[in-house]
Structure formats: C-alpha cells, structure tokens
Symmetry: C2
Subunit: 165 residues, 2 copies
DNA sequence: GTTAGTGCAAACCTTTTGCAGCTCT
DNA sequence: AGAGCTGCAAAAGGTTTGCACTAAC
C-alpha cells in the first residue's frame, strides 16, 4: 500500500493527518522493513525534536488496529520490543538468524495452503497469520562450527593446566 | 518428553535438580499447555510460599535455552507476556480467537512442508518454528455479527435523538 | 568444600495512561 | 467551536540483575 493510499484510508476513517502523523507515515514508508518503536522515534526526532515517544506508540497502535501495518516479534532477537512493517499484498514468513540477527522473508504458496486448511478445518476466520522461524543462516552455520571447535580446544587447554590463571 | 526424561536431560548437563526446580518441572508437566510465568508462579506458591518469582523466570529461561519448552506469544492476547509449553514431538500452529481467547492447535504436514521448503530455499538450519494465527473462531463469528447489528441499531437510535442523554 | 542456585530488592525496558493544553477540520 | 491529538509525567507490566546467603553435588 502506497503512502498516499494510506493517507486516504486514514482520512476516510475520520482520522486527522496531523504534522506528527505525516512525518511518521513518511518514515515508515521510506524505511526498510522491520522498524521498532524506538528506532522510529529516533528517526522522527531528527526531523522534529519535540515529537514525543508516546505519539509514536499511539500512531503505531492506530495503524496496527486499522490493519495498515503488521506487528512482528522476530523471535525476540534483540529484546521484547515489537517490529512493524507495512502490510504487503503477499503473506510471508520471517526467518531470523539467531546468531547475526539477519531477517529473511519467505513467500510461497505453502503459506496460503496452510491458511486455507486452518479456515476449513476449524471454520476459523483468519485476521492475521504470523510465521516466524529462528535458526542459523548458511553463513552463521559455518561460523558456529568454528566457534564450537575453538571452545573445545580451550577446554582441552584448560584441562592440561588445571588451575585458571 | 516425559518428566523423568526431562530430569535426566538436565542432570546430564550438570544442572542441579533443586527442590524448586523439581516443583516447577512437575507443575509444567501436569498442567495443560500454555502456561505463563505468572500463572506458574502462583501455582508454585501454593505448594512452596517461599519460592520466588525470579526463580520461575530463571527456570523457564533455562528450559527454553535447553530446548525443553517452547515459548509462545499467542498473538499477545491478554498482554505481552510469554507462554510456555513442553516440547511435543509434533510441530503445530497455534490459533487464537481474538474475541474469546480460545487457543486451538493445528497439526498437519503443511507445516513440515513449509519447514523443508525454508531449509532448502535458504540453506537455513531451523531451531524453532512458530506459527500463530489470530482471528475469530466459529462460535465468535456469530456473536460478532450480532454485536455489530446491535451497534448499528444503537447508532441509528442515537441519530434519531441527536443529543446524548 | 565448591560451585551453582536461591531470595530479596532494585533496576530495567517497553508500553500505556491521565490530564491539561493545543490543533486540525 | 469542538472533538481529536499531542506532550509531559508518571505508572504499569513483564522480565532481568547484583549481591549475600544457602543448598546440591
């Protein structure tokens, strides 16, 4: 959904486009994905130092409730805050590397199939679906193997010289 | 995983089976699924009033890191706390009704298919996978329809008599 | 006897709320 | 004009940490 379309949607719902909201909407729109409230706040403050953190939270809540952004946890990598992304047309899963924190997105019709199965199995009306996967990306798998080898060598060395220096 | 097996696993890792941990493990094992820290704490206190909330958090963290329990958000229905369930053999999705809070579980090989696709697409080594779905259960769909009708009638009534009493 | 684990108090981080004043429409 | 929104301060909710004491191995 484009920035202009989002503004229209809000206007239609009788929600005021204040200076602060315009700024926040722009920032969310421009930014890459997966912003958390604090990052958004800091970005906003550079352009409007008086803008309050509370306004950020209130705006995000508004957008979330209006279905204009999705809220993610990203496996709580880096804390318990929430992340937000503008709602894309296509459902996708988030894949988080537990070592480097990189987030990949997976599109694929398995997700739609899952959705349909759940709707029919339970007669459930789905509003939001969230799949988050944690593990190690190809790159970090290698690095972890190295780290583990080093740790083993350290332990062996410590074993040879019984007491710690 | 059975209670005894969990205890063994912990022992093998050199983790002490203190009185407090034994109690918490039992409670987690007995309880139905989807316990949050506070509930577990309250249950534990009935049997050991001196057991501290902090110990509950530390034990849950331990179990989570050891892969003995899974941590869930359940779409933050009812707050931002986490829920825990003992790790079952079978991966499943959690389906949360946003009106009544009921949680259903969905097993199905679509989930395994999704898992495999992600592993091969990204060369990703999956540690935890979490699918949570929010929406309205069959029962609440009906109730919501009624509520919306009532709301419409209220608005109409309010419209007929312009000022609020 | 060590070392890991506990309890307590206090801090922490993220998010929400109450209220007076400002601003969009 | 007036409801809606903002900023500020303060609180809430959930979780973690530092430290002295205790208990498991």
């Amino acid at each position: 959904m484009s920035l202009a379309a989002t503004k229209d949607t809000l206007k239609q719902r009788g929600i005021r486009l204040t200076r602060q909201r315009q700024l926040l909407l722009e920032l969310i729109d421009q930014s890459g994905k997966h912003l958390d409230a604090e990052s958004l706040y800091r970005m906003a403050q550079e352009r409007d130092p008086k803008l309050n953190r509370v306004t950020v939270y209130r705006t995000l809540k508004l957008l979330k409730e209006g279905g204009l952004v999705d809220e993610l946890d990203l496996m709580h990598y880096g804390g318990d805050q929430h992340y937000y992304e503008t709602r894309t047309k296509q459902e996708h899963a988030h894949i988080v590397c537990l070592r480097c924190g990189k987030v990949e997105e997976f599109f694929g019709d398995v997700l739609q199939r899952l959705r349909r199965q759940i709707e029919t199995t339970f007669g459930f009306q789905i509003v939001i679906a969230r799949t988050e996967i944690g593990g190690y990306c190809a790159h970090c798998q290698v690095l972890r193997a190295q780290e583990m080898t080093e740790a083993r060598l350290d332990t062996a060395a410590a074993g040879a010289k019984p007491a710690r220096p």
